[in-house]
Symmetry: C2
Subunit: 107 residues, 2 copies
């Protein structure tokens, strides 16, 4: 997929472009090119979030994420559902970093 790019994107615009690029890198492989099938979701989780989500080779783990994300039960994860997952993970990471940063000061 080609995409118009800002000439001098800000850090935040850059992050938003990376989110869009990541989704379409996997969503285009099979079936509806604008949604993630179960196989595409598994590939994305393994390649992009292996450090966060552990071993996504585990079929049950992929099924659980798919079940949690696929709010309209069509067996596909659309871009909005993907953003909800990434947003929730980013909030969790931020909370972790804040605790990590506060700890040395409190000791």
């Amino acid at each position: 997929m080609s995409m118009p790019k800002s000439e001098n994107p800000s850090t935040l615009e850059n992050a938003m472009q990376l989110l869009i690029q990541t989704f379409h890198k996997y969503s285009g492989n099979e079936g509806d090119k604008y949604t993630l099938s179960r196989a595409e979701l598994k590939e994305m989780l393994t390649a992009e979030l292996g450090n966060y989500l552990g071993n996504a080779q585990d079929k049950e783990a992929v099924d659980k994420v798919m079940g949690d994300l696929d709010s309209n039960n069509d067996g596909e994860v659309d871009f909005t559902e993907f953003i909800i997952l990434v947003g929730a993970l980013t909030v969790a990471c931020n909370d972790f970093f804040l605790e990590y940063n506060d700890k040395p000061e409190k000791k």
Copy 2:
């Protein structure tokens, strides 16, 4: 704020790190260092999203975004509220790109 960095972050991990960095770049300037005050929100909107949101110098525009985002009415935007804004904007951008990409094929 210092932050642990993955040694070889994936594209998605990189995007998540940029979101966290962007928020803390502005939230630390005054008051609670983990929330955006009205002034910090205005600075972030102007510097990071000027291309998307138009002229955030407009006080009414900043007040509207603050009113929409500040779901607990404490006059501050926390990280979760920030992620909801960025997520909604990213979904809107993605929709725009899909229309932009589909148009030449349909003609």
